[in-house]
Subunit: 412 residues, 2 copies
């Protein structure tokens, strides 16, 4: 038998077109939330949504929605599909954008085929999923799910000192609709794996049944600035060396614990940051993740104990600020089963798996049955220009999403 | 018997007045070479030199000279005294400025006493001694001594992307006199110790007989940017963790070697510098110093070997750029003896010592007999707002300089 399919050329063409928006002189792709590049990407997406004949809605935190509804189904809770289109610095073209554009593609395909869905279908693009410029990440979907007050979210100050609310106003995406205005009947997010598992094990579809917990902290270590040439090594309080021990401790601790935990120190600042001055301050972020809440808490506790220890051993003072904390999330088994059923019917190898990354789906899971679909990432590389997924895999994932949605809206 | 003395109130008043020039809103003192704050400090110094009735000269690298000469002695090689008035970021008020203002004070004292020196006496303030904005440090005196071509020095690009030559033009201190235009008969630099030795051992005068060697390098480590949540710890090439190992290695290596070597990583940059991205690049500076050239070379070799090792162990590529390299310098024994004799005559406890910091004196030593005089630094703290020297020590050091100069110009 033959299966309906999305328009592969249209989907892949849009992913590549959006991926050209926001490149600098060196060709680096960067669309940080609320930036001019973000505005350009949003404008392109809204134009596609309008061209598809959908209603465009923007809420007060800047989340964009393309709504397909009819007089008959407008009273029903909608099926929501989506992800985000903001990026990290020097990003690839698939992270987030694939899920948003595939959702739009699924809706257009159903429209083109004359399907009359029993429920509205909505494509959503959530604000500041990456969290590079504004913390926490997944901010737009968090606010939409009621997990963070709108006012607090709009007042968030970015790494460049700007406020998210002012930036959304500036780029014309501070909407007037209240976040959460649509309560989904279900939410499904299609995304690249951003990890090596599917490719390494030869699967083309991941039926994502849960998502690991995430802990973000900012650690600030204060030592004593002093002359690099005249201060004996034994008489120093070097904030930089104390910071160096933290990352190495986390790596060794996880290796010893044999857990799937991951720990990353992605940002680092020295003060005064001069060649011939011992650093008086080192400020850095710590990203800890584990699929198990108890293990994640144990890892956080081990870090806290170690910071106390180096405070004494290095003669430094240490302060810690929590930037974000999300518990592991379990997704809806019914939707996960529908993903597996579609893959099986289409002859696509699939496996159940845990998401290592944070996604908007973990926020929407608070207000609606939710699951995710993963497709392979070459070499597991993401947040990098070398991020890549084969066109066949992109199409296969979008078609599985099409099946899952069609089953939901046909009430089967 | 009683000894002539400099004007204590005038000297200390000027040090404090100059120390108020270049403070930001938080009260942090910063006069980086070629900056607007540097210009303001230079203007203040030049006004004092003119008020003292000296000839002002500015050479092509921006070094400032105040020249006291007469028709009788203008044919003789001058005695040069000085240091620098540029500062690090968030600096103290004594580093460099004390030596320049005490030199001016010595000249004014001799003038006021009607002394007729057998040689001209010159106060010098050298450009960019700190090297915070432009590398290498001690650049102005290095060019003056013929150790770096003028064109190359003027073309130096600063941490903010500016060029030293353009900045000197901008602030009005790109002079037209050729560096080295005055070949000193002798050069003496008075400076705070910037280390803990004199205070800890109860000496008020250091007769500095040599200066340790300095090696500055920039190390760039390239790993692979990847997603912080989905990349297992064992599959990472984390440039930040590789960088962390370098500083800790240097500290352990020096502790094992039992040498007086010091090693400092004062600057650090991560790329892309995002919370949820494994660092693809860590770039940092390494400052190595030792009074013995062989030991300094051995330390450089140990670092080079370790970088090769972590390149393999961490799966990263490493490149090294040499920023500056100066061998240890031996000063003039005759001047050192004169410093000791003056201290002894005045009943001041003195000891011979090695300078741990780099100073303009090590450059001028290439073209003239040179030595330095140190006074105590409280707790050895320098390059820090808490840098402090007791007024009595400031006056004692200036009076020893006065004696040494008077002996030289009287031909005794």
């Amino acid at each position: 038998m033959s299966f309906p399919s999305i328009d592969a050329a249209r989907l892949i063409g849009r992913i590549r077109e959006l991926g050209e928006i926001g490149r600098d002189a060196e060709g680096r792709l960067t669309r940080l939330a609320g930036s001019d590049n973000d505005k350009a990407g949003r404008n392109r997406l809204v134009a596609w949504i309008e061209a598809a004949g959908l209603d465009v809605a923007v809420d007060q935190i800047g989340n964009i929605f393309g709504i397909w509804r009819s007089e008959e189904n407008s009273g029903e809770a909608p099926i929501m599909l989506g992800s985000h289109i903001d990026t990290v610095i020097n990003a690839g073209i698939y992270d987030g954008c694939y899920g948003v554009l595939a959702a739009l593609e699924v809706i257009e395909t159903l429209k083109d085929r004359g399907v009359t869905p029993a429920r509205p279908i909505v494509v959503a693009a959530f604000t500041n999923e990456e969290g590079v410029r504004f913390a926490p990440d997944m901010l737009g979907s968090l606010v939409y799910a009621g997990g963070l007050p709108l006012d607090a979210a709009l007042a968030t100050i970015g790494t460049d000192g700007s406020s998210l609310g002012e930036e959304l106003e500036r780029i014309g995406y501070a909407g007037n609709i209240e976040p959460g205005f649509l309560k989904p009947h279900a939410y499904v997010e299609l995304h690249i794996e951003q990890g090596p598992v599917l490719q390494r094990e030869g699967f083309s579809i991941g039926a994502v049944e849960n998502l690991q917990g995430i802990s973000w902290q900012r650690v600030t270590i204060d030592g004593v600035a002093n002359h690099a040439g005249t201060t004996p090594m034994a008489m120093r309080s070097d904030a930089g060396l104390a910071a160096a021990r933290v990352g190495l401790f986390l790596r060794e601790h996880i290796a010893r614990s044999n857990a799937p935990s991951v720990a990353t120190i992605g940002t680092m600042r020295f003060e005064p940051d001069a060649i011939n001055v011992i650093p008086s301050r080192a400020a850095f972020t710590v990203d800890l993740r584990d699929p198990d809440e108890d293990r994640l808490q144990a890892l956080e506790a081990a870090l806290a104990d170690f910071l106390v220890r180096i405070g004494a051993e290095e003669g430094v003072t240490i302060s810690v600020e929590r930037l974000a904390r999300f518990q592991p999330v379990a997704f809806d088994q019914g939707i996960v089963a529908a993903v597996e059923a579609s893959a099986k019917a289409r002859g696509l190898k699939s496996r159940r798996m845990t998401s290592g990354a944070g996604h908007d789906a973990q926020m929407i899971a608070r207000i609606a049955p939710t699951a995710m679909i993963f497709v392979p990432s070459r070499d597991g590389i993401s947040h990098n220009p070398r991020e890549h997924t084969e066109p066949d895999d992109l199409v296969a994932g979008a078609n599985v999403l099409l099946d899952v949605v069609e089953r939901m809206v046909s009430g089967r």
